[in-house]
Symmetry: C2
Subunit: 405 residues, 2 copies
Amino acid sequence: MAHINTNFVKLPGSYLFSEIARRVEAYTQENPDKKLIKLGIGDVTRPLAPAVIQAMHKAVEEMGTVQGFHGYGPEQGYEFLREAIARHDYQDRGVDIAAGEIFVSDGAKSDCGNIVDIFSVDNVVAVCDPVYPVYVDTNAMSGRAGEYDVRAGKWTELVYMPCTSENQFTPEIPSKKVDLIYLCFPNNPTGAVATREQLKAWVDYANRVGAVILFDSAYEAFITTPGIPHSIFEIEGARSCAVEFRSFSKTAGFTGARCAYTVIPKELERDGVSLNSLWNRRQCTKFNGVPYVTQRGAEAVYSPEGKRQVEETLAFYRENARVIREGLVAAGLTVSGGVDSPYIWAKTPDQMPSWDFFDRLLRQANVVTTPGAGFGPSGEGYIRLTAFGGAEATREAVARIRTIL
Amino acid sequence: MAHINTNFVKLPGSYLFSEIARRVEAYTQENPDKKLIKLGIGDVTRPLAPAVIQAMHKAVEEMGTVQGFHGYGPEQGYEFLREAIARHDYQDRGVDIAAGEIFVSDGAKSDCGNIVDIFSVDNVVAVCDPVYPVYVDTNAMSGRAGEYDVRAGKWTELVYMPCTSENQFTPEIPSKKVDLIYLCFPNNPTGAVATREQLKAWVDYANRVGAVILFDSAYEAFITTPGIPHSIFEIEGARSCAVEFRSFSKTAGFTGARCAYTVIPKELERDGVSLNSLWNRRQCTKFNGVPYVTQRGAEAVYSPEGKRQVEETLAFYRENARVIREGLVAAGLTVSGGVDSPYIWAKTPDQMPSWDFFDRLLRQANVVTTPGAGFGPSGEGYIRLTAFGGAEATREAVARIRTIL
């Protein structure tokens, strides 16, 4: 008799965004005339940059000819893209990362989820609380999380690092020794960023105890404040303790085009084995590379026109973030994030539970947000809004929220 | 201290196709003037069908507009594609499969590799020998294979089902009870197909002992012999014991475009849990869907023009298969496959080891093949050739092989 992976059965309820979709669907069924504005899920809305579109058309054209056809590409990504990433995202910014340390993939979600394959099930895992659910759920599925304690809203074997207004949403190094540390800056969901000094403390800790930092910098393109690191590899010592996940999703609107990458320095080793080689083996065995057309599109993000166009779109979203942030403050809410980040993290009024405030905003303002509690127990009492909507819709949503509060 | 997944370290040497690439590269370095013909790796060479190209252009166009832009799609694939697959690949052929049972992905390699996530580590796994290495390596990585016995060329905990000329390359039901059974028909690498009666025996066995059949039918489009099943779901009883993997790679030349799908019937359960729901949870947590542009391209495969164009390309490859098959027979080799399959499986002359014959063909005929030993111990003494080359190159390769033999 075949048996299932029983860790799956331990997962509580449905995935956060599925539950939101369910509630939104139910409300829409009951109220088909209401016009909802969705500032919940972190999905972009602006079209792909013209330079990207042009490059993709050209690549599609090639795929229709015998000479230009591309079959299986390298599992790690084409050299043209790995080189462009290494140069523009790292070397030109003075960060020492080579093309051979970059693995192109179909998404940071895939990479963040699949990275657990290369680590022992016995590692102790630390996550921020609130946290992007993928880090938690994938460790639960692979048996590193123990049991789910419904009352606490926590897994018994995970180490939670609370990020609340008391510590400016900045995790503290846990007292219990941990092996794998998930960090995400600019943070999803709180919108917090980390300073160089804060990241240095993590790198020093990881090097001291032999931990590995899994650093998600999917939102780095939103950073405008000078001095805030865009990459963990800007920190001295990170090459021997960190893996970095990045994505074209938020940087260049690739949520529907699917391209991301993971950076693993050559000297990063545990148990005497290179993690770069382990990930390479994982990818070569379970992945067959990103579509050629997509990779040509991603490459175009780094062309002079591409850079300019992408920057325009980022400015568009940053303006949305400002509108939301200032509007919610004017409505009397306590707000963080929204600077150096597309996410605005707002305290619910009168300590109202997250899902109640979510339902109230859905029903009274017809605005879809994300309940903070969905990101972990310390997210209770917060909601997340995203700056990825249209400009007018965002203004309208903020106006509606101000009206009902 | 973070520790690695030590199962990775047990994996022997490099992945088969990496080793081939290494030898080819070394030979090319030494002999830059030689013109190699590659009939080794199963990668297609014909361009994408015009209908597919047209659909992809249109989708790229949409992605460049506010109205037509698509962000995150459903993790399971867009309904338009799931519906098209269900209708054209199953329902129109009288097979009872619904859209909700289809999960669109970036590749059969990914799906075959990732499916192990939803099963217990304690399941006993049966594989054909020779076999597509991904089934073996992914089970080794996840701890189901035991230790690698270098002398035997086998993993201690896997159950190997020899497929040799003695049994017409058809696996027999193992005497030891097994839980997960990987079957691939038309077979990679041997090119063998399974009759309805043979598959019925497997389905009956699986239903009797509660095993799950993981059925890889990536090459079904090459079947021309009437009566040979294209899908495991043509067999009565399969809905309660089988998962099927399919791909647009070989059917429609998508090796560089990346689109595939996995079929899990709603009533397939183990330990009282639906495998469809487990896989859905896995995909929603670790995957973010296939690019919109790719899915529109895949949909076009089912249009009247798409079907006709794809059929032309398949005819082109089938003719290559015939040329290779008949040419090698004329050269005095014992050959199977090449009918209902793009793979030709040839016995080496005088019981020469596979890698020796591979090297001989590389050096003397400048033809790249795949050594059978790379697919498992029972592949020793064979080589695999593929029909995916150009027509002229294929004829030339066969002529060169005939000359040296």
